[in-house]
Subunit: 190 residues, 2 copies
Amino acid sequence: MSKTKKQLVFEAAAELFMEKGYLAASMREIAKKVGLEQASSLYNHLKSKEEVLIKICLENAERFINGIAAVEQTSSTPIEKLKALIHLHISIATEDRTSVTVFNDEWRHLSEPHLNDFLTKRKDYENRFKKIIESGIASGDFKAVDPTIALYTILTSIRWIHYWYKPGRSQSVVDLERDVFVLLVEGLKN
Amino acid sequence: MSKTKKQLVFEAAAELFMEKGYLAASMREIAKKVGLEQASSLYNHLKSKEEVLIKICLENAERFINGIAAVEQTSSTPIEKLKALIHLHISIATEDRTSVTVFNDEWRHLSEPHLNDFLTKRKDYENRFKKIIESGIASGDFKAVDPTIALYTILTSIRWIHYWYKPGRSQSVVDLERDVFVLLVEGLKN
């Protein structure tokens, strides 16, 4: 199925946000990127650039929430659950780099009530990630580290993979995942 | 020795950059923060807000370069060198949070030739950090991971500690360092 004009407009806007940042991107440039001569024709497809930002931020927040919900429902060990969460971040970061970049770098520019909605989802995700770490500490699978320190040491690293890892370079996604498991999971194992 | 007016102006500007971002901060607000009624009096102490950004970015780049140079000169094992680098990041992030936040978040706004100078220093630091990882892999102290993946997995995590760790919370800096060693060094050990 070919993409609708609306989809193309949203993709162009997302790319522009990634290239120059949300604040610096203008409706005029979005129009130019999709070949609309007049910025005014763009308004048939897009009310404001924030519409794109809201869609990206909330859709990605949902992807992470749905991903962690699926992990929680398995009967895997805490080690396997942690690996599944790292896999979730690596998959999303490598399969949809534009969207993850905008999501991670630009959510601060959401207006209310979207910002509050986003922050609530983000906090919920972090709390559930921390619960998985805590359950591994409680079961003796993980060392007795501080769960908050473990959460953010791991999460910071995997949240920003898109900053330095570009698919198609010398390291494959398989290499990436294998080595990140070594670096972020092996040390925690009891 | 009490601080000079110029030092107070620089500190106020740095705090303002941290609070609202470099782009959004104005000379008028810097003046207000140090109690100068007229923005024009500020120009006796500060030519432009970029003067502060340049100072912060280059001073911090120097701190990291000097820190890694000191580590390189020791005869420690690669494991001890890696721990010393993590200690360097944690020390700077916890002792001078304002400056590290501006350094990490706002360097993109440097103009040339400062941006190029900064990026050269940053790349030099990353290359030297990677060499320490490579030497540990070569000596068999570290597992045979990809050095680039190891570099950025570790560096991303420790570069952004100031984002989530606030000194004075329930975790002490000693706890932080101990657990970050477990999380980022133990897995790499062979």
